[in-house]
């Protein structure tokens, strides 16, 4: 029993680690789509910033510098997307696809050019990366039965970016629903003309949204490379950008619901890791592929009905064209 509890706690603990990049990425997507710009380039931004973070961190020996560079890189990609989908009113999904492909190609070429190795950056030693921090008072609370374990395993012992991720969500909520920028953001995603006639710049707002998204993706990517892992390896984001996108829709573009979605997918992933090879009573051993596919299957099932229609911001994916 207690053993089961511990296992559950450990799985939850893993979920935290796994869903952190999903949170950053989906929050990035939230800003973009709330402003009426669809962003399936999340994956690419994650990958690129993961690579840049790892490179910078190993060159300058500091995770913080790595983080800064990652954010910068991700923002550049965000601006490319902006140029395509805001200024030149191109197809947003295509621009996203392009960004994904570009990222996967560039990371490979640059690792070769910079580190003479295809798709791998040098391993980060010690504090060249974000290490997990032990919260104060662990050993005190430790003595309290269940609470102690929960505090030690679950709450404490993550790296700073994990905590940042969970701090981000309420912040995002506050920005979107309580600030002037948030009001305008929601408006421009629903009816850009109304925003325009109110004397506001539709394009400006959308660029801002994408920029914020860029920053968040940058952090997410950095987490993957220099916090969760200790270097960049090719294609290391492995589709998390898309999962984040699913979480965004799944959470109906609402920060807290999106958080829930991210955590669910993170939990599934963590669970999958633990279910692998385990022979269950009736079912027997579950094939790796099935476990791998579970998050996607689940998303589809949920999209199929349980969450009814997920209604995106009205203007999303439509460039704002005033005159012909």
């Amino acid at each position: 029993m207690n053993d089961l509890l511990l296992n559950l706690i450990l799985t939850l603990d893993a979920s935290f680690r796994v869903c952190t990049p999903l949170i950053f990425a989906s929050m990035a997507g939230l800003f973009a789509e709330r402003s009426g710009v669809v962003d399936i380039g999340l994956e690419g931004k994650l990958l690129m910033s993961a690579f840049i973070a790892a490179s910078a961190a190993s060159v300058f020996g500091s995770p913080w510098i790595g983080l800064l560079f990652a954010i910068f890189a991700s923002c550049i990609f965000a601006m490319i997307h902006g140029l395509a989908s805001i200024t030149f009113k191109g197809n947003q999904i295509v621009s996203g696809v392009a960004i994904n492909i570009l990222a996967s190609g560039l990371t490979m070429i640059l690792t070769l050019a910079w580190f003479k190795s295809g798709g791998i950056t040098p391993t980060l030693q010690g504090d060249e990366r974000f290490l997990s921090i032990t919260l104060p008072g662990v050993d005190i609370i430790d003595h309290i039965p269940i609470l102690g374990v929960i505090y030690r395993e679950l709450i404490s012992g993550h790296n700073i970016l994990v905590y940042l991720a969970f701090a981000t969500v309420p912040l995002v909520w506050w920005v979107v629903y309580r600030t002037r920028f948030g009001l305008r953001l929601r408006a421009v995603g629903e009816n850009p003309k109304a925003v325009d006639t109110a004397g506001l710049s539709v394009e400006g707002l959308r660029y801002k949204a994408l920029l914020i998204g860029g920053i968040l993706c940058g952090i997410g990517g950095a987490y993957i490379a220099i916090a969760h892992n200790a270097q960049f390896t090719k294609e290391m984001t492995a589709g998390q950008g898309f999962i984040a996108l699913a979480a965004l829709i799944f959470g109906k573009w609402h920060p807290y619901k999106v958080l829930a979605a991210c955590f669910l997918f993170g939990f599934l992933d963590a669970l999958a890791v633990r279910l692998q090879g385990v022979v269950l009573p009736v079912i027997g051993e579950i094939p790796v592929q099935l476990i791998e596919a579970t998050p996607y299957i689940l998303t589809v099932i949920l999209l199929a009905g349980f969450i009814g229609k997920a209604i995106p911001p009205k203007a999303s994916a439509q460039p704002y064209i005033k005159e012909l």
């Binding site: 600030t179 002037r180 920028f181 408006a187 629903e190 003309k193 925003v195 006639t197 506001l200 012909l324």
Partner: protein
């Protein structure tokens, strides 16, 4: 006139949209504190001109003075700051925002919205009192009636301190009562020294409330008049450049057997809201049945059900021998085959496809017809020929089947749609807003054709927000409100007042139901 009290002065304002020369060296000056009307055919350039003044579009050349200060707006912001407010032809509201949120958008004050909301609440209640513009502040605007939404638009302007208020075809969607209400508000505003520019197609309104009127045609400003010194006939002539007769004379109807009998219809709209209940009527061959009512009181939904787009929840429709019921449904295609033609209320969204060529738009709904299909092959040649002929029949200009539907003017688009529906000689015609947003010249033509169809023994069901249209065309009139029939009158003894009352007293019950919904 003396410069001191000039609110707006436009000189040689010029604007192109791609190939379209929307405004051609337009001059206009508006006196402070007056109500200034602007009339003109569709596409004359009225909205464009005003949008330039409001900073929504930028003019190619020409100069603008506001309160005698030179002024060039690169965005609406400058115009707002200069004291200009505009209520657009199509409202600029964020549907899922509350009234309050819509009003403060763009002039929130602080970086946090909470206090701006409080500030706005106080200010709006004041304005509401002062001008009688009561609106519920905390409901999403999508749940408000059109009339109410318009009030929100006006409030937006006033809240931002507008001294000049532009209204683009504000009454297009209102009942007579609502319109009169609006005009009362105008008077109140005028007293406060607010300058009002009113764009409209309805000369009655011009005559009733404006002090001055300017006429546009094909992007040019063709005349300025003091309202007291002109008359509808003159204005109409200036607008389209020739005489028009207003009420078409039509012979007495020789109504025959009923071709469509509706019994106790109950209908839900696309969103699943009940919009029509307990509606029964019959449409006879050789007569026009007019359905009057404020938009959004169920006629639209009824129309869609008659055309097979929406299913019935209760009741039955006997039509040309077939019976439609909640169980048995006929889709639009099947109804067309029976001989039912449908001119949709919203031509842009339903009646046509902007990017399609005229010939393809003329094919909508009939793409399965034998004569144009040979096996799996759709014979484009015959499609074109067919379109050519109906375009000639309805004098759609330019008469070119290959032209993109969107490159036709609204009126011509409407004619094309009517041609498509009329030319296949149907038995029953269901017609919605045949002349909405269409200029007088086209209106005259279209109405004549509808009468012709009647005299050819067709059964015609006509829905229009234009009471004047209903009255001049219909042989029998039923008035709908809040999804129910609130009156049936014979055209001969119908007058605007009584119909208006039927629509209006219903209005009260509508208010009730609104409250009920909240």
């Amino acid at each position: 006139m003396d410069q001191s009290n000039i609110a707006i002065e436009l000189t040689d304002v010029d604007k192109h949209f791609g190939a379209v020369h929307a405004n051609d060296k337009v001059n206009l000056s508006v006196k402070t504190g007056t109500i200034h009307g602007i009339v003109g055919e569709n596409g004359a350039g009225k909205s464009t001109l005003m949008s330039i003044l409001y900073g929504f579009y930028q003019s190619d050349s020409g100069q603008i003075k506001v309160f005698n200060k030179k002024f060039r707006a690169t965005s609406s912001r400058q115009s707002i700051e200069a004291g200009i407010g505009m209520v657009h032809q199509h409202f600029m509201l964020v549907d899922n925002f509350t009234v309050l949120e819509n009003v403060i958008l763009g002039s929130e004050g602080g970086a946090l919205i909470s206090e701006s909301l409080d500030k706005a609440r106080i200010e709006l209640t004041r304005l509401a009192k002062e001008y009688g513009l009561e609106v519920e502040l905390d409901v999403p605007v999508e749940s408000l009636s059109v009339g109410m939404q318009q009030r929100v638009e006006i409030l937006k302007g006033l809240y931002k301190g507008a001294k000049i208020l532009i209204l683009d075809e504000p009454t297009g969607v209102l009942t007579p009562q609502e319109s009169d209400e609006l005009f009362r508000i105008f008077e109140a505003l005028k007293k406060q020294g607010v300058t009002i520019i009113l764009i409209t197609h309805k000369l009655r309104e011009i005559m009733n409330i404006t002090d001055y009127v300017s006429v546009m045609r094909a992007g040019k400003m063709v005349a300025h008049r003091q309202t007291s010194e002109t008359n509808p006939e003159e204005l109409a002539e200036l607008m389209i450049g020739r005489k028009v007769l207003f009420n078409i004379k039509k012979s007495k109807a020789k109504s025959g057997k009923p071709l469509l009998i509706a019994k106790n219809l109950e209908i839900h709209n696309e969103q699943g809201m009940k919009r029509v209940s307990e509606v029964s009527f019959e449409a006879r061959s050789g007569e026009i049945l007019g359905i009057a009512g404020v938009t959004g009181n169920g006629q639209g939904t009824l129309l869609k059900a008659l055309a097979g787009i929406l299913p019935l929840s209760k009741g039955s429709i006997k039509i040309l021998g077939e019976t439609i019921s909640p169980e048995i449904t006929l889709n639009p295609a099947q109804l067309r085959n029976l001989g039912v033609a449908h001119v949709p209320e919203d031509r842009q969204k339903m009646g046509m496809i902007a990017d399609f060529s005229a010939s393809e738009t003329a094919l909508l709904g009939y793409h399965n017809d034998k004569e144009i299909n040979q096996g799996i092959w759709l014979k484009r040649s015959s499609v074109k020929a067919n379109c050519q002929s109906i375009m000639e029949a309805f004098d759609v200009r330019p008469t070119n089947p290959d032209l993109k539907s969107s490159s036709f003017s609204g009126g011509n688009q409407q004619k094309l749609i009517l041609a498509r529906e009329f030319e296949r000689d149907p038995e029953v015609l269901i017609i919605g807003q045949p002349t909405r947003g269409v200029d007088i010249g086209a209106i005259e033509f279209i109405r004549k054709r509808i009468i012709e169809m009647r005299d050819a023994g067709k059964a015609i069901i006509l829905i229009s927000v234009e009471l004047e249209e209903i009255m001049s065309l219909s042989d029998r009139i039923i008035v709908m409100c809040d999804g129910e029939i609130t009156g049936t009158v014979d055209a001969s003894d119908a007058d605007e007042a009584t119909l208006g009352m039927m629509m209006a007293n219903a209005l009260i019950s509508q208010e009730k139901s609104n409250e009920a919904q909240l």
